[in-house]
Amino acid sequence: MNRIAILLGVLGIVALLAPFAGPFVILLLAHILVLGIVAMSVDLLLGYTGLPSLGQAAYLGVGAYLTAILATKFGVGLGWDFWLVIALGMAAGAATAAFFGLFAIRASGVYFLMITLALGMCVWGLAYRWNSLTGGDNGINMRGRPSFAGMRLADDLTFFYLVLAFFIASFFALHLLVSSPFGKSLVGIRERELRMRILGYNTWLHKYIAFVIAGAFGGLAGVLWAHLNGIVSPSDVLLPASVDVLLMVVLGGPGTLAGGLIGAGVVVFLRDYLATVVPWWQYVLGTVYVLTILYMPSGIMGLFKGGKA
């Protein structure tokens, strides 16, 4: 419980200091938070349910493209209907996961890894080829961020606070989920699926529901992602995007939820900040991954706990 207090404390400090940070830093922070949401959804699957998914970027993509298409083709989502788009994004993410889950949940371990990879690539293929809808490889340009209730999201600081609020809300929602009996049974499935089945649990259904929920949060992150970047393109759903998120979870610490945020922070810092300072940042990134996996199996959060969740 005090871990949550620490997390909130840190976020609170960041929120207070944000107005004094440069605009680029605020952008990076917003970026970290959005990816943190995706990472948490991956952690739900990986850390809690034991399902390593290599295709979560697909749900981000679905949410992001939906947002972009609604905004540019229908003019929806630029005022109060922004909140409608959020709901639709989550629904779209969940629906896609519901469909994909029918194929994927049958598998486990490395087969799950592979089938989610393939499904992710199918989404990429769709985004790439369906030119009339998705703009193909040019992508879709958002035409500016929404405004409502006097808040202009075009102001980066305002947008940052909104993203922060979404992150905290997502964190709490997921935290409640994993602390609930449902969440505990997910952990049980991760540890000993056979035993859970013998005990009468419908493990397929549990995994499926977790998968759909993860998809919903991926879709949410997608809506925010579209507004954050101002452009949605197929590269958002490419394989490396999914790999990145998985690695964020491993870096931060699987099974901790907050670890996803930490992992996102490290990766974004390395990619977007260190890259501007030194040309050999990719070595640092690779080495950090390797060292974490070798010596810190519980990720960075593991350093603070000294043990597995």
């Binding site: 592979m114 089938i115 393939a118 790439y128 080829r129 990719q282 390797v290 199996p297």
Partner: protein, 286 residues
């Protein structure tokens, strides 16, 4: 679309399948023995191509480049297995992620050492023409690829089925604990197989280098294809790799020729369907 069309398409599909076999055989062996999903396999493929280019530049000999590149990368694989994968023990997820971390490192190193130009491995002139058979132009290089893949396939099969080492490998694949029980040094087998897998990938990279080119990013391009083959054929099964590579080669080829609209899905959609029906692949067993 006359008979010639179908024949040449079949030929193309089979030759592509041959290249896929070189790529996938190592991957499936590594998984079969060690249950590791080696996501740096693509990097081994690419490194094989790069090392070969260096050897060719230094010595002028394409023939020499093949074994040197394959052995060099096998050595890298050996080191990686010994020093990095071994300590992790049996933890498939962490092993997978470790191989990804290395893939990043290899990619950056390759860029720094060889630069980012799109390169191509020129095969010797003898292999660079086409032979005309029954009105069909068959590039000799593709015939060579098919022959080589077949030879390697046979050699692997022979080694697995008829030699002691092969027996040890098969025992380890079937049941590692039992294998240890009868005195087989499974950790040595693992090391050997990982090196062999890297060797085969690099070999594929040298041979494929004339065909696919050698450039940064190729590693992550071939990786999903290799996995598609292995999954469709069944992870851990050499026969599966052969079947899978032929199936993928032909399906991909015909898919693109007859239904160009679905070119992007011709690889992944079958993979999803097969996995949905039989999660361990066509010839795999878990």
């Amino acid at each position: 679309m006359d008979a010639k069309f179908w024949l040449i398409q079949i030929f193309n599909g089979v030759s592509y399948g041959a290249l896929l076999f070189l790529l996938a055989s190592g991957l499936t062996l590594i998984f079969g023995v060690m249950r590791i999903v080696n996501l740096s396999h693509g990097a081994y493929f690419l490194l094989g191509g790069y090392v070969a280019l260096t050897v060719i530049k230094a010595s002028g000999s394409w023939l020499l480049a093949i074994p040197i590149a394959a052995l060099a990368v096998a050595a890298i694989g050996l080191v990686m297995e010994r020093i990095f994968l071994r300590p992790l023990g049996f933890d498939p997820l962490r092993q997978v992620l470790l191989t990804v971390g290395f893939a990043f490192l290899f990619q950056q190193a390759a860029l720094d050492i060889w630069g980012g130009d799109n390169l191509i491995i020129q095969p010797p002139p003898t292999l660079s023409h086409s032979v005309v058979v029954g009105g069909l132009h068959l590039p000799i290089y593709r015939i060579f690829m098919i022959a080589l893949a077949a030879a390697i396939g046979l050699a692997l099969w022979f080694a697995m089925e008829r030699t002691r080492i092969g027996a040890m490998v098969r025992a380890t694949v079937d049941d590692a604990e039992m294998a240890r029980g009868v005195g087989i040094d499974t950790s040595r087998v693992s090391m050997f197989i990982f090196a062999l897998g890297a060797f085969l990938a690099a070999l594929g990279g040298v041979i494929g280098g004339a065909f696919l080119g050698v450039y940064p990013g190729l590693d992550f391009e071939v990786l999903p294809v290799a996995f598609a083959v292995v999954i469709i054929g069944g992870m851990g099964s050499l026969a599966g790799a052969a079947v899978g590579s032929m199936l993928v080669g032909l399906a991909d080829n015909f898919g693109k020729a007859l239904f160009p609209e679905v070119a992007y899905f011709s690889l992944y959609a079958p993979m999803v369907l097969i996995l949905a029906m039989k999660p361990t692949g066509l010839l795999g067993r878990e």
